[in-house]
């Protein structure tokens, strides 16, 4: 164990044998290690493997393997690129986008948010608070528009929980069928373009459902570098389902505007990925994975796994939302909001938008789709031209993610990375808006 470099054993020996004797042991180990040109743990592992094989061969016999026709066919279909790639797109579309993004993040969220919180919990809490608490500041802390219960609890139970639940269910199914590694290996080449490995297919696709959840899932990536790149891409150029809905609705009647928006956001995704994979220190991503045979998942296992993960989500993520609404409360109490709003009007006017749009941007941070919805209102009121509409959609998509995603970035990547990523998205969002506005008004396209 000492030779294998096991840290726990090293600590144990130092504690029980005393510093001096440990140092002698350590020197001996170092001498032994330096005698080999391969890492010693590896050589030990090889030796162990050889012995194990020997024993295994002596005591076991291997019969011919029986694999059913259907299993063979499925195996082929999921590995042979001409069929595997369309299959991958179908799984991502139906499994992640339709089930998690549209059903979980749309239907279930709407139900819980409108019916449970909108009609029952929030009115009750508001009424109770109004009756029993005299101080306005305290009332606002618990209830009202940004209260710990009316916003924090609503956010975590009505908005994120359904997304998390449907995602974990889908993920457990994919995991237990053994399809996941196949998905990752098919996507590997494409993701290498943006400095990620095939493993990133899950968090990035999930980002089209909910960026907060997706940021948490970047944990599954192999290196810190990959996790950072994925977090940046999610924050910058992956619009969540709520945003997508409103933006598609707003631009649907103008196909040229829609294509332009998709093109610019797609380009930002590629550029940001390439740039960060070029400039971030660390090793290039490598991809290796065991590819297990396909199996029919056992429903009870899938449910048990989903349940355990949801419990873990509650413990880890809920405090985050509560904390976020506390921060919002403080910000409102000390008048920070008005200040930020004034500050935002400057870049908003710079990219050629009316100053009312600053409101949409600020609220976009508290919930990304509110921002888009705010723009939608402006557009319906006829206050935005075609080019302004595109500029606004692009900037809002690239703009800082919502408060929950920001909190998740802070938690997963640390304060420095979270602030740096937020800074980058801010600059990129307004810079692309500025350039796009110049081009569009200059050429007179999209009146």
């Amino acid at each position: 164990m000492l030779l294998s470099g096991d840290r726990d054993v090293h600590t144990l020996v130092r504690r029980t044998e005393g510093r001096e004797r440990y140092e002698r042991v350590r020197k001996t180990v170092e001498r032994a290690v330096s005698r080999y040109d391969m890492p010693l743990p590896y050589l030990i592992g090889l030796e162990r493997q050889e012995r194990a094989d020997l024993i295994a061969r002596r005591v076991t016999t291997t019969g011919p393997r029986h694999v059913s026709r259907a299993a063979q066919a499925l195996d082929f279909l999921t590995l042979f690129p001409p069929t595997a790639i369309p299959l991958l797109l179908l799984v991502l579309y139906f499994g992640l986008y339709r089930f998690v993004g549209v059903f979980g993040a749309g239907t279930v969220v709407d139900f819980l948010e409108r019916r449970l919180f909108g009609d029952v919990v929030n009115p009750v809490v508001n009424a109770l608070v109004a009756r029993h608490i005299g101080s306005v500041a305290l009332r606002e802390l618990i209830a009202g528009e940004y209260g710990v219960i009316t916003l924090g609890l609503r956010y975590s139970v009505a908005i994120v929980l359904p997304i998390v639940g449907t995602f974990f269910l889908m993920f457990s199914v994919l995991e237990d069928t053994g399809y996941l590694p196949r998905l990752a290996l098919m996507a590997d080449r494409a993701f290498k373009l943006v400095g990620l490995s095939g493993r990133a297919v899950i968090p990035i696709t999930l980002g089209f459902g909910c960026g907060t959840m997706a940021t948490m899932v970047t944990r599954t990536l192999e290196t810190r570098r990959e996790r950072t790149i994925a977090t940046l891409l999610l924050a910058l150029a992956v619009p969540c389902s709520a945003q997508l809905g409103v933006i598609l609705g707003m631009l649907a009647s103008r196909p040229r505007a829609l294509f332009l928006w998709a093109g610019v956001v797609g380009a930002a995704f590629l550029a940001a990925g390439r740039a960060s994979s070029r400039f971030l220190p660390g090793e290039r991503p490598v991809f290796y994975m065991e590819v297990p045979p396909l199996r029919v998942p056992v429903m009870s296992n899938v449910l048990a796994k989903t349940f355990t993960r949801m419990k873990w989500y509650f413990v880890e993520v809920m405090p985050l939302f509560m904390g976020a609404s506390l921060v919002v409360w403080i910000g409102r109490m000390i008048g920070l909001f008005q200040l930020v709003l004034k500050g935002l009007e400057v870049p908003v006017r710079l990219i050629g938008l009316p100053s009312e749009a600053a409101f949409a941007f600020l609220f976009g941070f508290f919930r990304r789709d509110y921002g888009a919805a705010g723009l939608y209102d402006l557009a319906r009121a006829g206050k935005l031209t075609g080019s302004q509409l595109v500029v606004a959609s692009v900037s809002l998509t690239l703009f800082v993610p919502c408060v929950a995603q920001f909190a998740m970035m802070w938690k997963e990547r640390g304060s420095r990375a979270a602030l740096a990523i937020t800074g980058v998205t801010l600059v990129v969002a307004f810079a692309s808006g500025y350039v796009l506005n110049l081009i569009l008004t200059g050429t007179g396209a999209l009146p």
């Binding site: 743990p41 590896y42 590995l79 690129p81 991809f287 290796y288 590819v291 297990p292 045979p293």
Partner: protein, 109 residues
């Protein structure tokens, strides 16, 4: 597909069959679909990567059979199937193994 134990094994140079000539190796990335090789060593790999490969039984002496070369390399090692990207496949040195009954289809040149 084939029993393996009774099959005669030819050692081959990369690309051509060379009978009893000195063994030459090539990267796993040079093998085509359906071709076999025996791992000789892993070049320029970091300790963690070596350890991972060891855990997946990709070690000197083990025989691999390539199932897929694009978009990633997928190969069988014993009863395990492993996927790696090209960068790793380039580092795994193998000697080509050609089984007698597969020669008409499997061997080039």
């Amino acid at each position: 597909m084939n029993g393996g134990s009774g099959a005669r094994i030819f050692r081959a140079r990369c690309g051509t069959i060379s009978g009893e000539r000195p063994r030459l190796t090539c990267p796993l990335a040079a093998l085509g679909v359906g071709e076999r090789g025996r791992v000789v060593h892993v070049r320029n790999a970091s300790a963690p990567l070596l350890q991972k490969l060891l855990a997946m039984a990709v070690i000197p002496g083990s025989e691999v059979r390539v199932d897929l070369t694009f978009p990633a390399f997928v190969f069988e090692v014993g009863n395990t199937r492993v996927a790696v990207d090209r960068a790793i496949a380039e580092r795994i040195e193998v000697e080509r193994v050609i089984r007698a009954e597969e020669r008409p289809r499997g061997a080039k040149g």
